[in-house]
Point group: C2
């Protein structure tokens, strides 16, 4: 079975739009998400434009503030300014940043309720306390797909231990009673673990990494990979080979990625509601 991210994303977009419409109607203002980009990374620019476009569909004002070169202090001052401004309801630092800037040193200054990217330690820690108001969008997207398709097999393995994917996802799966194993580049025999798991979430950044030898007929494969090869995008799983050899799999593109793009706005909406209810 194909786990179609487009359907999951469409449903989420509709639900978010409905909520945003109600907020605009009630509070008479257009909420704003401010993107801050430093440097000229091309992929980063593409993602920023996609967010602006998606924001437009949702009735959210997504604005991009771009610096060719910028110091840490100036970025932090910007964040402090936007933290106070009531017309700015979400702040995202586009990554990657130029080498002179450490992502987390800067993100740390974003108030948790404006952290649409779910990158602050406070929001990361809250996942452990089962508070998922704001979560890294990729982790939320994986959970959304499992929930939409009602995949209740209780044994999940994540091949990724980053604070953006593997770790928050582990917390969110534990919150839903899954038993969770986290593997990574230093794990000795990943196949031995995956072949006995119900759900395999792969995020290793290698085209065709996950092949038939990792799975069983009952596996559900959630492919978080985005790999470019000859201007074509591929996941981490060998999709064509696996489609008929597993129970279910997400395609790339059209799987986790499109849900992730939507879930940034789920974070934005949740943070916006927090602001409206508390300030």
């Amino acid at each position: 079975m194909i786990l179609d991210g487009k359907i999951v994303a469409k449903n989420k977009m509709d639900a978010i739009k409905e909520n945003i419409d109600k907020i605009i109607d009630k509070y008479k203002f257009t909420p704003e998400l401010r993107l801050i980009q430093a440097g000229n990374d091309e992929a980063s620019s593409i993602y920023a434009r996609a967010k602006i476009k998606r924001g437009k569909k949702l009735g959210i004002n997504v604005t991009l503030e771009k610096f060719d070169t910028v110091s840490k202090d100036i970025l932090i001052d910007k964040i402090k300014e936007y933290s106070i401004r009531k017309d700015i309801n979400g702040i995202m630092i586009e990554s990657p940043l130029p080498e002179n800037l450490n992502f987390y040193d800067i993100v740390n200054y974003i108030p948790f309720y404006k952290d649409s990217d779910g990158m602050t330690p406070y929001n990361e820690g809250n996942l452990s306390l089962r508070n998922e108001m704001i979560a890294p969008a990729t982790a939320r997207a994986v959970v959304d797909i499992l929930e939409y398709y009602n995949i209740k097999d209780r044994n999940a393995v994540i091949i990724n231990r980053s604070p953006v994917v593997g770790r928050p996802l582990a917390m969110m799966l534990l919150n839903r009673d899954y038993t969770v194993t986290v593997c990574h580049s230093r794990t000795e025999n990943i196949k031995k673990i995956t072949e006995n798991s119900d759900i395999i979430i792969v995020a290793v950044g290698k085209k065709n990494f996950l092949n038939e030898s990792f799975v069983n007929k009952n596996s559900t494969v959630i492919d978080v990979g985005i790999n470019y090869d000859n201007n074509t995008v591929y996941g981490d799983a060998d999709y064509n080979n696996l489609l008929n050899n597993v129970k279910a799999i997400t395609p790339v593109p059209g799987g986790v990625g499109i849900v992730t793009a939507t879930d940034i706005f789920q974070n934005f909406l949740n943070g916006l509601n927090y602001q409206l209810n508390n300030f």
Copy 2:
């Protein structure tokens, strides 16, 4: 082999004392850890007294502020006051709190650098970013024992998913390249997972829960349990039965508990150093 917590704790106590002595010598003041207890839970009073005693050995002033009944607002005001005071360098809310008070609603107000208990979401999230300045003391204790005994087998299973033990410990083990599985009460076949693991960390609160059927000859068992039965304390593992059937095991008492008691002061020291370096 017996993994002796007393030796690990003794070494840590010596190292912490050496650091505290230097700080007192250099800054000419006695650092203070403030314990706040609400209600009259007996176990809570025992733990508080133990901390006062241990603080004395280390040259730290541990003070207990006790309320029979108290409101959330008063507790938060206290925390705000102690957050600013330079002579108070750590704040701990003794648990359990009376039913009218939610632990995390209150703990949330402790600044991360005075959170000697490692209970704030910010410190919990920082573990994912490999910043372990402050960590829940039990999780730190397990890691300390593995490091002291140089246990490098890379496959660990934790039977506990709480934000106090299982979750932060999973993050800290990932930081050290272990492959980590987290099981819990809803896991269907825990034995199948543990019997194939190198390291088993058990924290389920049931005397004799972990017996021979969960382990293999090469297992290392870290027992986090503290169960009282007829005025005697027992762990979660059937120690007498396992001692000769596994590679290594921590006793109870004399295992994780005594290292945990010490690691509260490791957190305190780390937070104190942060305060001295940043304010």
